[in-house]
């Protein structure tokens, strides 16, 4: 269980980026965080990852307090951040350096096959497409088998088609070991197709505004009316989080757009 207890972050320049953010996230749950630009989503994720210290509140994972990067928590950024001097296989094995070489090789080969890049094992990161590189980044984060995987807009740099592909792929990978996923996104479609719960945040200061449970069985049909109604609910909550007045029935104007900024 990942417990966020009254997390707050005030940057040295005085920006109050996050305030009293509390949530309990069960093992294996998928949570999407969505909200306006600058509302503190990345700040929140970096605090959970232990990359930046929160100014108040605590993050605990299975009753262990997290204040620095932890072996049970993996993170994937918007950019793949592969190490350009390592081959694809070496990149995936980067977090496994404690293991004996043969076990490491086995795990890396397995992960490569799992993300469908077995033929790219010896390629350099520069030779990959954006989607392939992000798949390598996912494999690198997943191969040490973290309990929690944090993703900060992992697919936002990709085209719509590749993005869908990787969303489905991420779900497949998730089904293998069922880690907790906490995913920041701007894409309402993405939130609804992946998440068990969608956290809508509101800006200045960044706070949890509304929580929406997505009670849809997986795999989810992006074209079903139920899917659409969840999307509409998220969009409405987003609009309200920014104090935009949305008369009933008019939420269609934004519901048609998958991307919400």
């Amino acid at each position: 269980m990942l417990v966020l207890n009254g997390l707050g972050k005030i940057y040295p320049n005085g920006v109050n980026a996050l305030e009293r953010f509390s949530a309990e996230i069960r093992l294996g749950e998928i949570v999407a965080i969505i909200g306006g630009s600058g509302c503190g989503k990345s700040t929140l994720l970096r605090a959970i990852a232990g990359l930046d210290r929160a100014t108040s509140g605590t993050v605990t994972l299975d009753d262990i307090k997290i204040s620095a990067p932890h072996a049970k928590i993996g993170i994937i950024f918007q950019e793949p951040r592969l190490l350009p001097w390592l081959s694809v296989a070496e990149n995936i094995g980067f977090g496994l350096s404690d293991l004996p070489a043969d076990i490491r090789r086995q795990k890396v080969a397995g992960a490569l096959a799992r993300v469908g890049l077995a033929d790219k094992a010896d390629a350099w990161p520069r030779e990959l497409s954006g989607g392939q590189a992000q798949r390598v980044a996912i494999a690198r984060a997943l191969v040490p088998q973290p309990e929690v995987l944090l993703l900060d807009e992992p697919f936002s740099a990709l085209d719509a088609f590749t993005r869908r592909d990787l969303q489905d792929h991420l779900l497949d990978l998730w089904a293998d070991t069922r880690p907790t996923l906490v995913l920041v996104t701007h894409d309402v479609d993405e939130a609804v197709v992946l998440a068990d719960r969608v956290f809508v945040m509101r800006p200045r200061p960044g706070r949890l505004f509304e929580e929406i449970k997505v009670n849809l069985a997986r795999p989810r049909d992006r074209n079903s009316p139920m899917f659409d109604s969840f999307k509409r609910r998220v969009l409405t909550a987003l609009d309200r989080s920014l104090d935009r007045n949305v008369p009933d029935g008019d939420s269609k104007s934004t519901a048609g757009e998958a991307m919400w900024w």
């Binding site: 990359l51 990067p69 993996g74 993170i75 190490l83 390592l86 980067f94 030779e127």
Partner: protein, 283 residues
């Protein structure tokens, strides 16, 4: 410094749209085109002297230069001069690289050390290094030590700046990857910083080596009895232009060869850099 290194590489990768066959051809013809001008001039000059339009006394024709080299080589003198100069460059280069690397790394890694150290180094850098010569001779004598120190000073600055700049420009995002995998300090240096810094370091070494060759000449002008620089001075005093040009040619060959050695030696470590240009062009 790291930026200026990468730009040409990027340009060529963008430019190589041509099919592989013609690209391979161009790889051989392009350097060959570069040889046309010097070879043509040499041949023309040889012909001019041979046909008697000039006596070639001040500007010796290629055959004379070649003869001078052969003569020096036969007496064993050439080998001795080359060895002397080479060992001076090696010692000075080694010393300069060592000091530049250590101080550059310290300045790049610790902000406090950089604030303390860098202004002084930058101020010293503003002094033309040859200006040190009289002082070095007073302090260290006219013999080997002052020569080697002068060369080391020349090598030091580009290496120092290269190392410091390279460390400062390491991508924070990639360092963060190291942090998320909980690398210890030494592991972070070995697995992230060193490989990230290496390309710029190799460039700094090559620039440093170039300066080392420049400064060995200056060093050997100040009272040497051996070395290629001595051959230059000796040729001037005895009026032997062929010997001067011969020494210059040997300088060029040695400079290019040692630079090439660094390039070849570092190539396996930097394969990841140019891989893009080589593979993706054909695919």
């Amino acid at each position: 410094m790291a930026m200026t290194v990468e730009l040409p590489a990027l340009e060529t990768t963008d430019g190589t749209i041509a099919p592989p066959a013609s690209r391979r051809l161009r790889r051989w013809t392009q350097p060959a085109i570069g040889l046309l001008l010097p070879l043509g001039l040499a041949l023309a000059w040889e012909a001019t002297v041979w046909l008697g339009f000039s006596n070639g006394r001040l500007v010796p024709p290629p055959t004379k230069i070649f003869a001078a080299i052969v003569e020096l080589a036969r007496s064993g003198e050439l080998a001795r001069h080359i060895m002397t100069t080479l060992s001076r460059v090696a010692a000075g280069f080694g010393l300069g690289v060592l000091a530049g690397t250590v101080l550059g790394a310290i300045s790049g890694y610790w902000t406090l050390a950089r604030r303390l150290l860098d202004p002084t180094v930058q101020a010293l850098r503003a002094i033309p290094s040859i200006a040190w010569v009289p002082l070095f001779i007073l302090w260290l004598g006219i013999f080997e030590t002052s020569k080697i120190v002068l060369i080391a000073v020349g090598v030091f600055f580009p290496v120092y700046l290269g190392v410091m700049g390279a460390i400062l420009s390491v991508d924070r995002k990639i360092v963060e990857v190291g942090r998320t995998f909980r690398l210890s300090g030494p592991a972070m240096i070995r697995r992230i910083l060193l490989p990230a810094v290496l390309p710029a370091y190799v460039v700094a070494l090559r620039v440093g080596l170039g300066l080392g060759w420049m400064f060995v000449v200056a060093a050997e002008f100040m009272g040497a009895s051996e070395g290629l620089g001595y051959l230059l001075i000796d040729g001037q005093q005895l009026g032997k232009p062929a010997q001067i040009v011969a020494a210059i040619v040997i300088f060029a060959i040695l400079g290019k060869t040692t630079d090439w050695l660094i390039e070849i030696g570092s190539a396996p470590l930097l394969r990841w850099q140019d891989a893009f240009g080589r593979h993706s062009g054909g695919a």
